[in-house]
Symmetry: C2
Subunit: 364 residues, 2 copies
């Protein structure tokens, strides 16, 4: 394949594997000799259901998800999960306990409060502008917690949990939108994992939920059908029309990861890719400054600044001219950010490292 | 274009215009010379925002939507709207009044009840198995109604409203999932119109909401951010990551309708298409029996039975062998159904009429 591809470092929606796009293109108008696009298939047809079920099977295999978990496909992104979690799991006696490691954890907590549920903060690293993940010993948890909620990877600040806490009854819930499928996971530690697809899993429009089955029986009867996890579990996520094309793309991405050696191999590649850029930062004598503390550094979102805003702007401008896409930091924090999700090729990271080295030579 | 295309009569997801699919295929890997797929664009990028805003502009033009309405893109389908409507508009004194014309209206009412809100039934045609739309004089409405809710087209039973009631303060809300964009609409009569995209608008995964601006100020502060209409209005439906590819396809479908002469011309074509099949029913001396009363007949979903279940099964089997897709009635009612949405070509309807006539000759 010799298509001219951008060096896409978008934080999400983000790069998809070229092979997956080429396959989707080939099949787009006539899927599987049906004379129809995937988008034109009934969600009750055998052709579609095969895609839907294969996506579930592939995810279960790749992440070694045990049988006592269900995989659900929901719409609305992680942002809707922020509300569904307290709606489904917080009864009067239970407290939703949140570890704050950035904007997304804050938003998750905010939605539980809007609903008027009891909440607590297990730990926060806000005082150092979320430049690190708290140590496990810093967490303040209690047996009354309905759950403990974490954000496994912080897209905006560039930090990532390297080890997960052991919570009573394993009632740990994680927003893994930006690092699911990037490495092997100890699923048993979690009661629920959720992830918007638009970083490592596929295009936007579908959210994957991995939920332990015993949690499906706890929902209050005043909860709307579309906001109850058991509605999705009982109906194989086909209670109403699912986002069929997004799930088809998810299936193709999962196949691609599987064919390339699974999540352990993906993890190895991601470490290699991130090392290129972190090395460029570490060997720059402070020309580039990473935002995150070294032991909390994310392998997915690599955040850094230059010595002043003017130079950062120049860096971003020249990078853009060289064909790099999406290197601006999030509008809430500024600076630079390279998102090196699964589908970002080694070559793009290598090119970025070279550009960083050359830019430094010209401007230090 | 000479692709082998199925005669696709699916009720939704359903046929898309061939031209739209071919365009999407061409652009799939490299959109607008960006070196990226539409699916890989950031939702905060200029390239994507142009698509997003063009979809809104085109819809406003095609349906002559006045300036005091907002167009929103939401996930979760019409089924999530069933809950969002009472959550946003029913305060303690207000009653949600529902006209029941089929399964979808029943579900809309059910969700208002789950939330514990006050509801009423303005009219129902359940006693005749939803074979007609009530006359406007049959509606029992009151000034206390927060809104009156109707389903403008009933996908399962094959009925459609031909004229809309005048409700106090125009507090009429319509689920138009299966007939939006099929004909010109008196938008001013409605406080809100909503529609899952997967019939006339595009692929599944996005729901279009057209809402009068004064309704955006009424939401209770305990409502989750993702379930408030004003969250979408204030953020141009970009509060969180929208389903970007679905919205891109929506934009392309709207362009296609616009290029083919708009909704008045679409209405003319739809009448012509439906007439082919209704004629085959009416001229069959009872061999085919329409479910809906003549004056309530839908131009989108044409429902009929044969004289017994065995013959219906034979009809469906032979039709399938001839390459017709999606003619089974909904699993809740059985029989046959041809969905002739905007993108179903005249030729497919013509072929179906011919098949119906031949089948009758062989089996009467």
């Amino acid at each position: 394949m010799t298509l001219k591809r951008a060096y896409n470092f978008n934080a999400g929606p983000s790069a998809l594997p070229e092979e997956v796009l080429v396959k989707a293109q080939k099949e787009l108008v006539n899927f599987n000799e049906t004379g129809m696009s995937v988008m034109e298939l009934s969600h009750r047809s055998k052709d579609y259901e095969a895609i839907h079920n294969e996506a579930k099977t592939l995810l279960a295999e790749l992440l070694s998800i045990p049988d006592n978990y269900e995989i659900l496909f929901i719409q609305g992104g992680a942002s809707l999960q922020f509300s569904m979690i307290p709606m489904n799991f917080l009864t009067e006696e239970k407290v939703g306990n949140y570890v704050l490691t950035g904007s997304w954890s804050e938003k998750a907590l905010k939605e539980a409060k809007i609903l008027g549920r009891s909440t607590a903060v297990a730990a926060t690293t806000k005082e150092t502008n979320y430049n690190r993940i708290p140590k496990l010993t810093e967490l303040n948890v209690s047996p009354d917690d309905g759950y403990v909620h974490i954000t496994s990877n912080n897209t905006i600040f560039g930090t990532q949990w390297k080890e997960f806490p052991n919570i009573e009854n394993n009632m740990l819930i994680a927003d893994m939108s930006s690092d699911i499928l990037s490495k092997p996971l100890p699923i048993e530690k979690f009661s629920m994992i959720y992830a918007g697809a638009q970083k490592n899993l596929g295009p936007s429009g579908v959210t994957v939920v991995i939920i332990r089955k015993d949690l499906l029986e706890k929902t209050n009867e005043n909860t709307p059908s579309m906001l109850r996890y058991d509605t999705y579990a009982k109906n194989n996520s086909l209670y109403n029309t699912p986002p069929t094309f997004s799930i088809y793309m998810l299936k193709n991405v999962l196949q691609w990861v599987s064919e390339r050696g699974g999540v352990a191999e993906t993890d190895r590649r991601n470490q290699e890719k991130a090392a290129l850029i972190y090395n460029a930062i570490d060997e720059s004598n402070g020309f580039y400054q990473g935002h995150a503390e070294t032991e909390s550094r994310s392998l997915m979102n690599l955040t850094f600044n230059l010595r002043n805003e003017e130079l950062s702007k120049k860096f971003l401008q020249e990078a853009k001219e060289e064909g790099f896409v999406g290197l601006n930091g999030h509008r809430s924090v500024g600076g630079c950010r390279a998102s090196t999700y699964n589908a970002v090729p080694y070559e793009a990271c290598d090119q970025l490292q070279q550009f960083m080295t050359k830019f430094k030579k010209r401007h230090e």
